[in-house]
Symmetry: D2
Subunit: 203 residues, 4 copies
């Protein structure tokens, strides 16, 4: 396979990229001078070299010498009583950027399909339980923050079930993000489920 076809294939696996745009990316690269391509190749290579997975939250981060633990998990000023469990790295990035959460994170790695046969292999559930145990003296709340779709809700159910007894023993509360009208929502276009949640959780 030519490097053009190989790169096209790789770009096709990028989120939201179809075969046509993948091809355009390759032509975009081709038309750059060799210096620019080198820069790109070396940035990718650097990413590979510097990329680390955090031993605490399992998120990916860039190495900065303090190996093993990401900057967020290393930040002593954060709130040790609260742990947010998320499916993906990007979710953590979104929440962290919104600056609304001051506790720590844990990245499960995936959500669970409804009929997932081996949930233990799909998500880091034992690692989560392990982490909760280690921090049970300070931890007061675990927020299960998944997408509000069937997979996300199924994952929340599964995780809740698995951590329930140890959470109860350790006095850790399990919570879910509030459901209701999102920012910018128009009543006229709200679905029944959202209206039901909005009404149930009225403030």
């Amino acid at each position: 396979m030519s490097s053009i076809d190989k790169l096209t294939d790789i770009f096709k696996s990028f989120p939201g990229i179809g075969p046509r745009q993948a091809r355009r990316f390759v032509y975009h690269l081709l038309s750059k001078n060799t210096e620019e391509i080198s820069e790109f190749a070396s940035a990718v290579e650097s990413l590979r070299k510097e990329s680390r997975q955090c031993g605490e939250c399992f998120g990916f981060y860039l190495s900065d010498g303090n190996e093993g633990i990401c900057p967020v998990c290393r930040d002593d000023s954060r709130d040790k009583s609260s742990l947010m469990v998320l499916a993906k790295d990007v979710d953590m990035e979104t929440v962290e950027k919104s600056r609304v959460f001051k506790g720590f994170y844990f990245v499960l790695g995936n959500t669970l399909a409804i009929l997932e046969k081996e949930p233990e292999r799909k998500i880091r559930i034992s690692e989560l339980i392990n982490r909760m145990s280690r921090q049970s003296s300070t931890l007061k709340e675990v927020v299960l923050a998944f997408n509000l779709n069937p997979e996300g809700e199924h994952t929340a159910e599964y995780v809740k079930e698995r951590i329930r007894s140890m959470a109860e023993q350790a006095g850790i509360k399990i919570t879910l993000p509030g459901r209701g009208l999102s920012s910018g929502a128009e009543l006229e276009y709200a679905d029944s489920k959202t209206l039901e949640n909005a009404l149930k959780n009225r403030e």
Copy 2:
């Protein structure tokens, strides 16, 4: 002005319809046979004749002999302790279709622009206060259900301010629909405001 231009103008005022589609509508009508156009004209005429505005909720409804009050406001089996205040008829239709609310409705007619100079003329605030007074013996809660955008939030603020003292005297609670993740929401794409609400209202 020709009836083609006149109709085009009217269709342009329809929600979501630009000049081009308005024109297509007219051509669509033109190409129908006279029987079909008659049917359309008479359906519009019937709507005009049967359309009534409810003296209780100020929503529009179709006349069915029991003049003056719409079927919802007439329904004795509904929950008299709860009143939902909405901006528009379509909002009421959406909530009613979702079957999640069993109380009564009140249609303000509009939302208030932030700098609205004569709010009293834009929304039915005195009619709302009047209705709350008349039902103060049974009414326990007023839900201010507006779009979660600046205009909607401003309207909620204004209405809250105006009905506060009488609500307090009558022991009527003023609530807002819960805010947070809407059904189907994906964390990755949630805006900061929504995440903040979701976290504040975690369940």
Copy 3:
């Protein structure tokens, strides 16, 4: 059926309108005052009364006293040597608005599906032949202007076949609009068929 449901059904038959927007149209009408609805109903009724089908081109037009023939077909300053055959009234409106054609029009009423069993009942082919015969002394060219999709091309083939012998006898040329790059076209996104036509018809 209520007039609300009836009107919703009629609006659903409008080009590009789904059930949801049809409903919004009805609510839009409902919330207008009776005077505005009357105006709408009477504009529709006028359209019905004034709408005429031209005996020459079979397009629809508004009556203006000179019954039977539309203003375009009545316009003696137009080019009698050229006749453009179109599928629909809107096509004629588009071409007429572009001011690029100075001849006369003929509206077939439809295009033909590839497997259409009774083409004679679907389009006004005998009326077209009739018109060509009547004007054979002045007519020099018939332009078959249909959409450049399979149905349009099939219709052009069928019409060409049907009018060929009489056109030949009368010395009338049969033409098709030029095919190639449309205004604004970008080469990168052009399909093979368009490129083929553009290359075949290079100027």
Copy 4:
């Protein structure tokens, strides 16, 4: 700048990619294992190493040993009498894939903005003239195939002006791709310019 930010910046320069999606690409890479990232980095590096610019058409191609000339320009079975001048490599890829053109290509590198002050530095006009001179014995036609927008048309005008006298002397015809209805075009939505071209070029 971190390799994350650097890569985000590079991805932002990819065609059609905004800052948000650029970020997602980086996270997509981060979450891949190091083997996959290596594969990506080495595919980019291969592209850089194998990428060549053809000395004849100035298009980019992958090295295959026969250095200097791309496979298309090297193909003796192609039609030497015809040369298509294009703005970009992707245009050449699109035309070549459509298999409708059997001649040779020349990539100008750009189109000219209407007010371009130094057109000579923006496009390979002297290289084009040079190539035409070298092949004047066999060359019969130059097709100027640019986007049908103001920039493309301006570029065609400029190139035509510059190559006119030498083309005349050498008996080389200068042509443009045919303009008219593109494949799939619907008359109702055709713009005036397209209709005018379609009518002017009727077949």
